[in-house]
């Protein structure tokens, strides 16, 4: 971002000496600021190219996160016994807590159990990615001037993919539970239009109400797109802003001062993962309820 000043200056500079001096100072200051810490770009930098596919540093870190999660899952699977060890008890506590929290939203234990794999997987994936962005090694190991690792969720691509996946999965779940025709009528409310000639003699006001519910259904389509945008930007914004905050604080004083901000980032990472998972669960539950007339 700071290198863009260099490109735009020649087109803007008018032949006023004072104006040029000001722009020169701006350039100089931004160069200094860029060299103090590592400059954070909005987009992740590609490291290697597999064929035509650029592997960015955030993608690499997501792979490390997936590897860690697979290791954890294998460890849990091998060590389950009848009489639980401490490790297994902790995992059982976490699972029980997660199911209880999901019950607050779904009010139905069997549905919570059915949705538990996907919601918990989203939660753990986002949590591990958020926290991996904080450990030493991320952002400091660099190769040819590029940083090899960067927090996975600090890249808009990852969060956009996650939110697309969550919203599409919620819609598919809705179709599975309610049935295709009912679910389609949530958005394009053809049932309401068809009901007008049937019920017009009993309730004459239906001529006014049903076209309105038809348009409300159309607006629901726009709200689905808004869900995708809000989920992805909320997660990306929180994690990326945390990265920028840590980089700025470390540029001021790197010993001791970042400590409360690291703590804040740990909490923010946990809360954002929780919110993403709970919101996805809410979308699933809303999609699965029948359209109320």
């Amino acid at each position: 971002m700071s290198t863009d000043n260099h490109n735009s200056e020649p087109t803007h500079s008018e032949p006023e000496v004072l104006h040029d001096v000001e722009i020169g100072e701006n350039q100089h200051a931004s160069e200094e600021h860029a060299e103090e810490g590592h400059e954070l770009t909005l987009y992740a930098e590609p490291i290697v190219h597999i064929g035509n596919f650029p592997v960015t540093n955030s993608l690499l870190t997501s792979w490390v996160a997936v590897f860690l999660i697979i290791l954890l899952s294998l460890a849990i699977r091998k060590k389950t016994k009848r009489i639980p060890s401490i490790f297994q008890s902790i995992i059982e506590l976490v699972v029980e807590g997660a199911l209880n929290m999901m019950d607050l939203v779904t009010n139905d234990r069997s549905r919570s159990k059915k949705l538990f794999p996907i919601i918990f997987a989203i939660f753990i994936f986002i949590l591990v990615n958020n926290w991996l962005g904080l450990i030493p090694g991320i952002g400091s190991i660099s190769f040819n001037g590029h940083h090899i690792f960067r927090g996975g969720t600090a890249d808009l691509n990852t969060t956009l993919a996650l939110s697309l996946f969550a919203v599409i999965a919620a819609n598919i779940f809705g179709v599975m539970v309610v049935g295709g025709w009912n679910y389609f009528n949530k958005f394009i409310n053809i049932k309401a239009i068809l009901a007008i000639p049937k019920k017009i003699k009993k309730e004459p006001t239906i001529v006014l109400i049903n076209p309105i519910s038809f348009f409300v259904g159309l607006i629901e389509v726009i709200s689905e797109v808004a869900k995708i945008a809000s989920l992805s930007f909320r997660l990306f914004g929180n994690v990326f802003a945390g990265e920028v905050l840590l980089a700025s604080i470390s540029a001021i004083l790197a010993f001791g001062l970042p400590l409360p901000f690291m703590f804040l980032e740990v909490i923010v990472g946990l809360i954002q993962a929780l919110i993403f998972a709970i919101l996805t669960l809410v979308y699933f539950t809303i999609a699965a309820t029948a359209h109320d007339h």
Binding site: M1, D4, S8, S230, F233, R234, F236, G237, N238, I278
Partner: protein, 70 residues
């Protein structure tokens, strides 16, 4: 005057007025209800954090726009 810098500052400055007020009101109502019924603290805590994160997300959108203005 650098219009880019002014745009960035205005984006995040004006964009965080609303969320700040919202989070303050959420916290105030939560404090009030905890004061009326101290036993309900555990039940109020999680929904309060959840709703605060929604309100904060609006400020985050403004921050993203401020970052992406060149």
């Amino acid at each position: 005057m650098e219009m880019t810098l002014l745009a960035k500052a205005l984006a995040i400055g004006i964009g965080s007025i609303g969320p700040a007020l919202a989070i303050g009101m959420i916290g105030a109502k939560a404090m009030e209800s905890i004061g009326r019924n101290p036993e309900s603290t555990g039940k109020i805590l999680v929904p309060m954090l959840l709703v605060s994160a929604f309100a904060e997300a609006i400020a985050i959108y403004a921050l993203i726009i401020a970052f992406s203005i060149k």
